[in-house]
């Protein structure tokens, strides 16, 4: 069980306490070199970089603070991420449906937080209920138009809220459930660090070598070159950071690389697709230089559940 008392004695967390600032400093040095040395125009990137510094500090602090803060933090990110989705898609005007999705997201957090029920082996997190969450949330969402006796335009609202709940509330919510794992520090730190690094690499390689659009109809700025470059980094990274999960064999390391390298861009594209159809550029303006919260957490939407189930298949999570 992760907690502030164990955090500083844990070699994995201590390692990330060094790795994250070092990579940020490295990134800052490269940016500084490009800005002053080569006199490139990088105004907007500095804003993005400053936000990275803030987010990385908050992230490390929350993981340091332990299991409950991680789950609560993930739940808050889901809530505000869904709020951005609701505001862009027009769902926000319907108090009842948005309220139902918020309730579902809180229930996801609750399922990750409570101890296992009797009958199962002891440990934290009610896995069965967590996995059954879509069932209950969708049932609740379908119930609302029936209780309110409304039909006109309800299908659109129900569909939007179900997509919003599954993507942002439940799939992203798996990140919170990972905090219950015995190796929570390694899993959490690796998943977040590798996914965000994959994002940054895709952006950087795309800027440097980008020629061929990855999905021209969905996101005009993403390129095959960027995605493949980031994929290569993601495949190597599990070996470099092998101390995060010392019990992983070669198969698991390859699977981890595949999950981050393919799941990351998929999550990114799935939110881009929603944005593209709605017609907005960013989901919000919560993070200066990045857009909304959803624009930042989107890559984790696929990575978190896939990684959790992969690890759960080969090893006991607790």
């Amino acid at each position: 069980m992760i907690s502030p008392q164990t955090a500083l004695h844990d070699p994995v967390f201590r390692a990330y306490l060094v790795i994250v600032p070092v990579s940020l400093a490295l990134g800052g040095t490269i940016l500084g070199f490009l800005d002053w040395g080569l006199k490139k125009k990088l105004r907007s990137i500095w804003k993005t970089y400053r936000s990275w510094l803030v987010m990385a500090s908050i992230g490390l602090l929350v993981v340091f603070a332990g299991r409950v803060p991680v789950i609560v933090g993930v739940t808050f990110l889901s809530i505000f991420g869904f709020k951005e989705f609701a505001r862009s898609s027009g769902l926000y005007c319907d108090w009842w449906t948005t309220g139902a999705v918020y309730a579902g997201i809180v229930a996801v957090g609750f399922a990750s937080l409570v101890p296992r029920p009797r009958g199962e082996e002891p440990g934290a997190g009610w896995y069965g209920f967590f996995m059954a969450m879509p069932l209950f949330a969708i049932a609740l969402i379908l119930l609302i138009p029936i209780l309110r006796n409304r039909a006109r335009g309800e299908l659109q609202k129900m569909s939007l809220s179900i997509i919003g709940f599954i993507y942002i509330g439940w799939m992203f919510g798996h990140l919170g459930f990972l905090a219950n794992a015995a190796n929570a520090y390694g899993f959490l730190c690796y998943v977040i660090f590798a996914t965000e690094l994959n994002d940054v690499c895709a952006f950087t390689f795309g800027r440097l070598f980008g020629r061929h659009p990855l999905r021209s109809e969905i996101s005009p700025n993403k390129t095959w070159e960027g995605a493949l470059g980031a994929f290569a980094v993601s495949m190597v990274l599990p070996w470099l950071l092998r101390f995060s999960f010392p019990f992983f064999g070669a198969t698991q390391l390859i699977l981890t690389g595949l999950i981050v390298g393919i799941g990351g861009p998929l999550g990114d594209l799935s939110i881009s697709l929603i944005k593209r159809d709605i017609g907005t550029k960013d989901m919000g303006a919560a993070i200066p230089g990045h857009g909304g919260i959803l624009d930042r957490i989107d890559s984790l939407i696929y990575v978190a559940p896939l990684f959790m189930h992969m690890a759960g298949y080969y090893y006991r999570l607790r």
Partner: protein, 242 residues
């Protein structure tokens, strides 16, 4: 098959503080929930700490749009008037608050927009625009506008002259105007004090009025403001001096 139409919020690309500063604000379930919860706490606190009492409560029971006019000597005034309304009308009640005081700093913006659902009223520049914002608000039935026509908190507890803007707002318009008098709020939390002290606060609600038959010319506007001023003062005198 027709494609769906999405009605995005018009302030999607703005950060939270800017969204709270603009008016009218987009609906937000989280803000509504927080506001309802805080309102319950404030109601309990007023009842216990200030022994809050309402006289003439039946005058506020209407489903039409309403302008509440009151004397202003304390921050408690807005909270008391909001506490006199039923909870389900909380999100339709808009106290006009000084934009240059409440919507300057970030914490004050949060309190004004989330707790009281305030309408940012520019009292020095572009007053006319603020008045037309109030007027748009009243065109929607069931909306409640809370206005302190003195323009600022009184430093002595005395009710000062009303500004003529209130007359311009209600003249020739079919809207119910309810004069109210807040007694004791000045002693409980005067201007310049940091925290309120436990003194009794009483809200006296006067009989509703209607100025739909009046013209919107300058003489009538000033006359309405003076009439309302008299009505509020009388409410205060009738129930004993403050």
């Amino acid at each position: 098959m027709n494609t769906w139409h999405y009605d995005s919020a018009c302030d999607v690309d703005q950060p939270l503080v800017d969204r709270l500063r603009r008016f009218p604000r987009e609906p937000d379930v989280l803000v509504y929930g927080a506001r309802a919860l805080i309102a319950l706490i404030i109601r309990g606190w007023l009842r216990i700490y200030h022994r809050f009492e309402i006289i003439g409560h039946e005058n506020l029971r209407t489903n039409r749009s309403l302008v509440i006019v009151a004397n202003h000597s304390s921050h408690l005034d807005t909270l008391c008037l909001l506490a006199a309304l039923p909870l389900r009308k909380l999100h339709r009640a808009f106290p006009a608050a000084a934009a240059d005081y409440f919507f300057r700093s970030v914490p004050r913006t949060f309190v004004a927009a989330v707790v009281t659902n305030a309408l940012p009223f520019a009292r020095r520049v572009r007053v006319r625009r603020s008045l037309s914002m109030c007027s748009d608000l009243l065109s929607d039935p069931e909306n409640i506008l809370i206005i302190f026509p003195e323009g600022t908190r009184s430093k002595t507890g005395e009710t000062r002259e009303f500004k003529s803007g209130i007359g311009a707002l209600v003249a020739g318009r079919d809207v119910t105007v309810v004069p109210c008098y807040l007694q004791g709020a000045f002693r409980a939390w005067p201007k310049g004090r940091h925290l309120p002290c436990p003194k009794k606060v009483r809200l006296i609600v006067g009989a509703p009025r209607n100025y739909s038959s009046r013209n919107a010319n300058k003489i009538d506007i000033c006359a309405i403001a003076a009439e309302l001023h008299r009505a509020v003062k009388e409410l205060g005198q009738r129930s004993g001096s403050d």
